[in-house]
Each structure stands twice: as structure tokens, then as C-alpha cells.
């Protein structure tokens, strides 16, 4: 599970572009959202790369 705080996200697109599986996308108001949970491998890189601390990757709750 990837939780994205819409208040903190500035829509820079780093997580969307650098996710190795393209699990994230920008929505119509230019904020990141968890578009493709099925491809996510919970590597946690989007959380570490987010300059705005908007992302939390919950590793355990995949199923």
C-alpha cells in the first residue's frame, strides 16, 4: 500500500517518473496517486525520493 498525502504533494512528478514499476501517476489536479497497486513491489523508493514527505509505503499490507 502506498499512501500519498495530497496536502503535502507538490506534483513534481519525481515518484511517477522514477518508480521502477510505474505504479504511480498524476491525477487531474497534478497530484500523485497510487494508480497501479497491482504492479507495485513496495521497494519504498518513492517515499525516500519524495522531497515533500508526502508518501508512506506500507510494505506488509500487499495482499
Amino acid at each position: 500500500m502506498v499512501i500519498i498525502d495530497q496536502k503535502l504533494c507538490k506534483g513534481c512528478g519525481i515518484c511517477v517518473s522514477l518508480c521502477p514499476k510505474q505504479a504511480l501517476a498524476l491525477n487531474e489536479v497534478n497530484k500523485s496517486y497510487y494508480a497501479h497497486p497491482d504492479v507495485c513491489i513496495h521497494c519504498g523508493m518513492c517515499e525516500l525520493w519524495c522531497p515533500d514527505y508526502a508518501i508512506i509505503v506500507e510494505r506488509e499490507s500487499k495482499e
Binding site: K7, K10, G13, I14, L18, M45, L48, P51, D52, Y53
Partner: protein, 274 residues
């Protein structure tokens, strides 16, 4: 934000003022994660910065913080460490703040080997004031003050720090955020002067002028241009021309200034028991 990181931030000050995609937030995050991993003693830690976008970080971190004058973070940090030698002192500074106006302080703090951990946010530009070139702007790059390309030769901060006597020198990038966090922990644990240069992106005032694309593309540039020491050793000068070396680049043991000072004071007062 993850609960584990919250103790290190003044959450009511977030979101920070940095532009979307500015790498400075990634460095501040890596620092907070390093502090969480080390379970750092907040009461005994100070974070001190100069002036610049990067130096704004002290406004967001919940420690004893000092946001000082341009180029003078290391001078204030020296004073702080002399008065409270038992505390860990972390200095946050930009490439302009540290190597241009603050260059002299850097030389002398490294020479004295004072136990400070300095993190240089190197975005190759003066971000805050609109994109003037800094000593770390690469030769040929565009800035508002070098519209036809920077004439000045490339400058290697690692070599400067080494020549001046820094006892811990490392370089990383915001792309290599796990390595960066690890190097920050090592730098804080090192007794003596530590310098960690972090290659970061200013999409607004550097990337745009130099047609480097989106913040993510600027991070991929970091990935493509960073090499390890082992890789560099096998490369020719030509192959290394536009590359930079990342990792722990130098570490040695040497007498630490505030410790030597305390010893001298104790001696002059007639020994440790007085």
C-alpha cells in the same frame, strides 16, 4: 510523513517553501532518517545553516537551530561547538554559501579538525537569488551571470577539503538517497571535521537554463554521471571528464580541536581533578 520522522520536524512549518522537485527536501529527509536510525539525542544536537534555499532547512528541523548569515554557518558552528563540545553539531549549507562567501571558514574549520558534520547542498547555482553561477557551476553551464556559458574552470570541493585537512570526506547525490543516509550517519559518528557534498537539483534556476528537463530527469543525470572510486580507477581521464566520484572518499584520525582545547585548559588549571 512517517511517525518515526515526526520528532525531527517542526511539522507546523510544512509544507516547506522549496520549489516542486527541488532536491533540497530529499537531503533534509535523508538527514531526518539518518537521525532516526541513529536515535540521535535531540537535546544534544544543533543544526546550523547560512543563507540560501538550502539553508532554509533549519527552519523545518526541530532541534536547537541557528539560521545565520550568508557564508558564516561554519563560524557560528565553531562557536557553538567550543561552548558545548559535548553536542553534535550539523551544518547545512549551499554550494554558494560554503564555497564562495564561506570558503575561508571552510578551509579553517577543516584545518582545525573541529568535530562538525557539514552537508553541502550542491545544486551548482545560487538558487535563492535567481540563478547566478557559483564556484561549483560547471564550466560551460548557463547561469544568469554566465548567459553564454560559464568561463570558469571546474572546482572540486573534495580536493579542497582534503588539502585543507578535513578528516572525513564523502560525496553522494539525492538519486543515491540510501547511500546518502548512510554517509550522513558515518559523518555524524566521525570524530573530527566531516564534509558531505550532495549533488542535488535546482530545476527552477539551474535545470531550466541548462535544458536538463524535469526534476526526475535531473536525478537520472545524477545517476548517469556518478561513479564509484573503484569504477573511476579503471576509467581513462577522457571517460572521467564529465563524471564525479561518489562514496566515502577519505577518512583519517587526527586530534580534534575542542578536545585538544579542553585538555590544554585542564592542564593549565592543574590537572583533570581540579
Amino acid at each position: 510523513m512517517r511517525d518515526e520522522l515526526k520528532p525531527y520536524f517542526r511539522e507546523n512549518r510544512l509544507p516547506h517553501i522549496w520549489c516542486p522537485g527541488c532536491g533540497h527536501g530529499i537531503i533534509m529527509g535523508a538527514l531526518a532518517r539518518a537521525m532516526a536510525k541513529m536515535d540521535i539525542d535531540k537535546k544534544n544536537t544543533a543544526v546550523i545553516s547560512g543563507i540560501g534555499c538550502s539553508s532554509r532547512a533549519t527552519g523545518y528541523l526541530d532541534f536547537d537551530t541557528l539560521h545565520t548569515a550568508h557564508g558564516r554557518a561554519l563560524a557560528f558552528a565553531t562557536g557553538y561547538k567550543m561552548v558545548k563540545p559535548e553536542s553534535k553539531v550539523i551544518v547545512l549549507t549551499g554550494d554558494g554559501d560554503c564555497t564562495a562567501i564561506g570558503g575561508n571558514h571552510l578551509i579553517h574549520v577543516a584545518r582545525r579538525n573541529i568535530d562538525l558534520t557539514t552537508i553541502v547542498f550542491n545544486n551548482n547555482i545560487y538558487g535563492m537569488t535567481g540563478g547566478q553561477y557559483s564556484p561549483l557551476t560547471p564550466n560551460g553551464s548557463k547561469a544568469t551571470t554566465s548567459p553564454y556559458g560559464n568561463l570558469e574552470r571546474n572546482f572540486d570541493l573534495v580536493q579542497l577539503a582534503k588539502g585543507a585537512g578535513a578528516t572525513f570526506i564523502a560525496r553522494s547525490t539525492v538519486y543515491h538517497v540510501n547511500q546518502l543516509t548512510d554517509l550522513i550517519i558515518k559523518g555524524i559518528n566521525h570524530k573530527g571535521f566531516s564534509l558531505i557534498e550532495v549533488v542535488t537539483q535546482c530545476p527552477t534556476n539551474y535545470g531550466r537554463k541548462n535544458k536538463m528537463g524535469s526534476p526526475a530527469q535531473m536525478m537520472l543525470w545524477q545517476k548517469e554521471h556518478a561513479v564509484t572510486k573503484a569504477q573511476a580507477d579503471k576509467m581513462t581521464a577522457e571517460e572521467l571528464k564529465d563524471k564525479f566520484i561518489v562514496g566515502l572518499l577519505h577518512q583519517e584520525e587526527a586530534p580534534e580541536y575542542t578536545e585538544q582545547y579542553a585538555k590544554m585548559v585542564a592542564n593549565l588549571m592543574g590537572g583533570d581533578d581540579k
